[in-house]
């Protein structure tokens, strides 16, 4: 890749890193996700700054086509992140559901007190 390309990637990476840091400072991104994205950003920045690094890692892994290493890593990482988000989404959905149900029960009309013929009624517990 040309030097211009590396500069572009480096600039984009630094920009997204700054963006993430800004989000964390504004309490818009939980720190655990910030950490994840910062690490990923740092790795990309590292690869953009030292183009030879990717080639060396590729040959070490036995991958002939260097960008393949990058895509392999990227897809694996994104896959894991999406799986994690699915899990988190399911958990949030279950909790929201529970809250909605519990709220409906709390706000529901109390059972009707009707005169009964089948059995004597207890005294109401609450006055």
């Amino acid at each position: 890749m040309s030097t211009g390309g590396h500069v572009l990637i480096l600039a984009l990476t630094l920009f997204s890193l700054l963006f993430i840091i800004r989000m964390v400072r504004r309490n818009q991104l939980p720190s655990r996700y910030a950490l994840l994205w910062l690490v990923i950003g740092a790795i990309i920045a590292l690869l953009a700054t030292f183009p030879g690094l990717l080639d060396r890692v590729s040959s070490w892994l036995g991958i002939a086509y260097a960008p393949g290493t990058f895509f392999l890593g990227a897809i694996t990482l994104l896959f894991l992140i999406v799986i994690h988000f699915s899990w988190e989404l399911a958990r949030l959905d279950a909790r929201t559901r529970l809250l909605a149900e519990e709220m409906a029960v709390l706000r529901a009309d109390p059972p009707r007190d009707r005169p009964r013929t089948t059995a004597p009624e207890d005294q109401p517990v609450e006055s």
Partner: protein
């Protein structure tokens, strides 16, 4: 038979709802009607219920209706629990179970708000509960005589057949109507379902049935006849139905290993159970 309480995967969160205040000594029964946009049919259904089963309490769970369902129910003098958004039949039912547990009901009946079910058959379901069943299913298909005038489409009946087969393989029992929404629940099962009830479409029927079987509750079927829907439309159309049946199948099959584990546990914990 000891109920494997420890096998309940998700422990019930401590309920915020009021503690049971027992006001009556005899078995209190709550009829739960999950209702989504049923303002047309609901009033007649509630009136017929009150006339046929005057001793039963009724709760309408308004599952995020956009019409006057809740107002219609209140006009009939029936308590309503309003969900803030649509949760599906499973979520609405679970809301009903939580209400039942919070107010000390000892049994509950699931009843359709669209006039599909006949209130005259509720006592038959309750009678089966009294004989020791935990879950009673009103089945459309094993009516002894020609009392069952309920027709389902070819696709739906085929898909239901597949699910029935899956349930049969997984539970080791044969049910004629796994998707009936006319059911009765005992107090222990109410508590169990209040804590965990499948909430996806079809989950509220087929998966709930399997869940009860696997947890060791006694499940029986009682023949009932059903009517044609009084108003409202069927909950889902064919195309998404295919997806829902597939999802239910995956969900059923994913429960299989759990069942084996539970069986092994039960066998080791209290010897011969069946």
């Amino acid at each position: 038979m000891g109920r494997p309480e420890s096998l309940v995967r998700e422990q019930a969160l401590p309920s915020l709802a009021p503690k049971p205040v027992s006001r009556r000594r005899y078995a209190r029964t709550l009829v739960i009607l999950p209702a989504l946009n049923e303002q047309e049919a609901l009033s007649a259904v509630l009136q017929e219920l009150a006339l046929t089963c005057p001793d039963l309490d009724v709760l309408v769970v308004d599952d995020g209706s956009t019409d006057a369902t809740a107002e219609v129910a209140r006009a009939e003098g029936v308590p309503v629990a309003v969900l803030p958004f649509n949760l599906g039949v499973g979520g609405a039912l679970q809301t009903g179970f939580r209400y039942a547990v919070a107010h000390g009901y000892e049994r509950a009946v699931q009843f359709d708000a669209d006039g599909q079910h006949d209130p005259a058959q509720v006592p038959a379901l309750l009678a089966a509960l009294e004989e020791g069943a935990d879950l009673v299913i009103g089945s459309r298909f094993n009516a002894p005589e020609a009392g069952s005038e309920y027709a389902v489409g070819r696709f739906r009946s085929g898909a239901m057949g597949v699910l029935r087969l899956a349930v049969r393989l997984l539970s080791g029992r044969r049910f004629t109507d796994t998707s009936s929404g006319f059911r009765a629940f005992s107090a222990p099962l109410l508590a169990f379902y209040a804590a965990n009830y499948p909430n996806e479409y079809l989950g509220d029927t087929v998966e709930a049935l399997l869940l009860a079987c696997q947890a060791g509750y006694r499940v029986v079927e009682v023949p009932v006849s059903m009517r044609v829907r009084a108003a409202g439309t069927p909950s889902t159309q064919n195309l998404s139905l295919a997806y829902h049946y597939l999802r239910a199948l995956v969900s059923l099959l994913s429960r299989a290993p759990v069942r084996r584990r539970q069986r092994a546990q039960r066998r080791s914990s209290n010897g011969a159970t069946r």
